[in-house]
């Protein structure tokens, strides 16, 4: 398990630069866009992770299961996917900033 985590971190490190860059802007998506992102996560991420985000074919995305990761790493996973697993890269649907926002929301308890 731990080994997978390190391998993942190794793969994603280069992408963290993007994450950091996104954070500079640090602006939150505007509210209608936030609603669209919540919908995307609940409905479409939910296809694998569960509408309640408690896991399915994909792992749970609850605050407890994500607390140990920096949001930028989670955001990089959202944007770039996880090779070797069914997790696809979502970059065509959202920006880096939006991915960081989603990661933070997931860690705080995702809005309904």
């Amino acid at each position: 398990m731990r080994r997978t985590v390190f391998a993942l971190a190794g793969f994603l490190l280069p992408l963290l630069v993007t994450g950091a860059h996104a954070e500079e802007g640090a602006s939150e998506p505007e509210s209608t866009r936030q609603q669209a992102l919540v919908h995307l996560v609940r409905q479409d991420c939910g296809a694998c992770h569960g509408l309640r985000l408690t896991g399915g074919l994909g792992p749970p995305l609850t605050p407890a299961s994500l607390e140990k990761w920096p949001p930028e790493l989670l955001a990089a996973t959202i944007v770039a996917g996880r090779p070797g697993t069914p997790m696809p890269p979502w970059r065509q649907f959202l920006t880096d900033t939006e991915a960081v926002w989603i990661a933070r929301q997931l860690q705080q308890g995702f809005p309904e």
Binding site: G50, L51, T54, G55, G56, P86
Partner: protein, 391 residues
């Protein structure tokens, strides 16, 4: 339970001043249900009237929920994501029984003789069998493929001989459990390939196919010749080609078999694969407008309807199986998640999740002939599934 029903009838009688008017007797062959994925409810529908006739709530997390039917067509068994298993009475439009059978589930199946309902679970990985009348637990098979290692179970389907076939995502295996002796199922294991993501039993009950995510190809098990084991078919289907990201896993359950050919979703590609079911070799690929999720044959096999993953999930392509190409393209609504044909296929019902509507189309004219408001609709299930193997 009997007393309660009687009480209901009596109270209805008391209200009806004109005397006790029984609801007219009716069958259930034209009934069905639509899963409302966001709020734990199902809408009950009548395919003759093209209308909803009831709504039942209180079923927990119904994202990715599915349903099977009792063989008398009166009851639906709804499998929720949160491990809830609910037995619904379609005629009385109410929950007959409900149990929470696991932590995280992904569908189920009903045995050939209709007496056993089996749920497939992600957590804890395995299958559990229940008495179809009472939902009392009968037996379970833990998907423990190595000591202490439980796999998520996918692609559970019923097969003749009170058997159930299913695939182990994490183990890369197909298991077949024989429930002839319900309390003591006998399980056989077969190597399948990397990350089987869904499976199906062919309409004749002979073959089990598991789609592989972690490698190219499909695992095929001949249930008449289990001794031969599983073999890989279509190994060439992704060779030397870059796959597109898969934003939604294809479903094989609604798979299409028509005229000796099988139509399968090509994972990570904008194609439907056509396979010869005698040789299990690829015959052709039909280009479509997105990554297929459901590839479903109209019951007569003349058409195959295809819906798609994001970002093309507002589209439907209809393949003419005689010509082997797309004959009609529709954009019926936003987020078309599922489709279900009426028992003989003159109409098809589509879930448009983001429009909050179920749409009904005439399959000969491609004309919309009805619609109804349903909150966040996903799976549509009609009672005609009760009499189909593998559904």
């Amino acid at each position: 339970m009997k007393t309660k029903s009687l009480w209901r009838v009596l109270s209805l009688c008391a209200v009806a001043l004109a005397g006790c008017q029984h609801a007219p007797l009716r069958g259930t062959g034209d009934l069905g249900l639509v899963i409302e994925r966001a709020n734990g409810c199902v809408t009950l529908v009548d395919t003759t009237a093209r209308q909803a006739y009831g709504r039942v709530c209180g079923m927990g997390d119904l994202s990715h929920a599915s349903a099977v039917f009792s063989r008398d067509g009166r009851y639906a068994y709804v499998f929720g994501r949160d491990g809830g298993l609910t037995k619904l009475d379609l005629l009385e439009a109410r929950i007959e029984r409900r149990v929470i059978q696991s932590g995280n589930a992904i569908g189920g199946a009903i045995s050939q003789n209709g007496r056993i309902v089996v749920a497939q679970n992600y957590t804890p990985g395995g299958i559990k069998a229940f008495d179809a009348d009472t939902l009392a637990p009968i037996a379970e098979v833990a998907a423990e493929y190595a000591p202490g290692q439980l796999s998520k179970v996918v692609g559970l389907a019923d097969a003749p001989g009170q058997r159930f076939a299913y695939a182990l995502f994490d183990a890369g295996e197909i298991w077949v459990s024989d429930f002839s002796n319900p309390a003591h199922p006998a399980t056989q294991r077969f190597a399948a390939g990397r990350q089987p993501y869904d499976g199906l039993v062919t309409p004749d009950g002979r073959h089990y196919l598991a789609g592989l995510f972690g490698e190219d190809g499909v695992a095929l098990l001949d249930l008449w010749r289990l001794g031969d084991g599983s073999r890989k078919i279509l190994p060439q289907y992704g060779e030397h080609e870059e796959k597109r990201p898969v934003f939604k896993m294809p479903h094989l359950r609604g798979w299409a078999l028509a005229g000796g050919k099988a139509y399968l979703p090509a994972i990570g590609r904008h194609e439907v694969m056509v396979v010869d079911t005698a040789t299990w070799r690829e015959l052709a690929r039909i280009p479509v407008r997105g990554q297929p999720v459901f590839v479903m044959a109209r019951p007569d096999g003349r058409q195959v309807w295809v819906n798609f993953a994001l970002p093309d999930n507002g589209k439907i392509d209809v393949i003419d199986t005689l010509r082997g190409e797309v004959e009609h393209r529709l954009e019926p609504g936003r987020a078309i998640l599922h489709l279900e044909f009426t028992p003989r296929g003159e109409e098809v019902w589509l879930s448009a999740r983001d429009d909050g509507k179920v749409l009904i189309y005439d399959t000969a004219r491609f004309a919309r002939v009805g619609e109804m408001a349903v909150d966040s609709p996903s799976g549509i299930f009609f009672t005609s599934r009760a009499h189909r193997i593998g559904f």
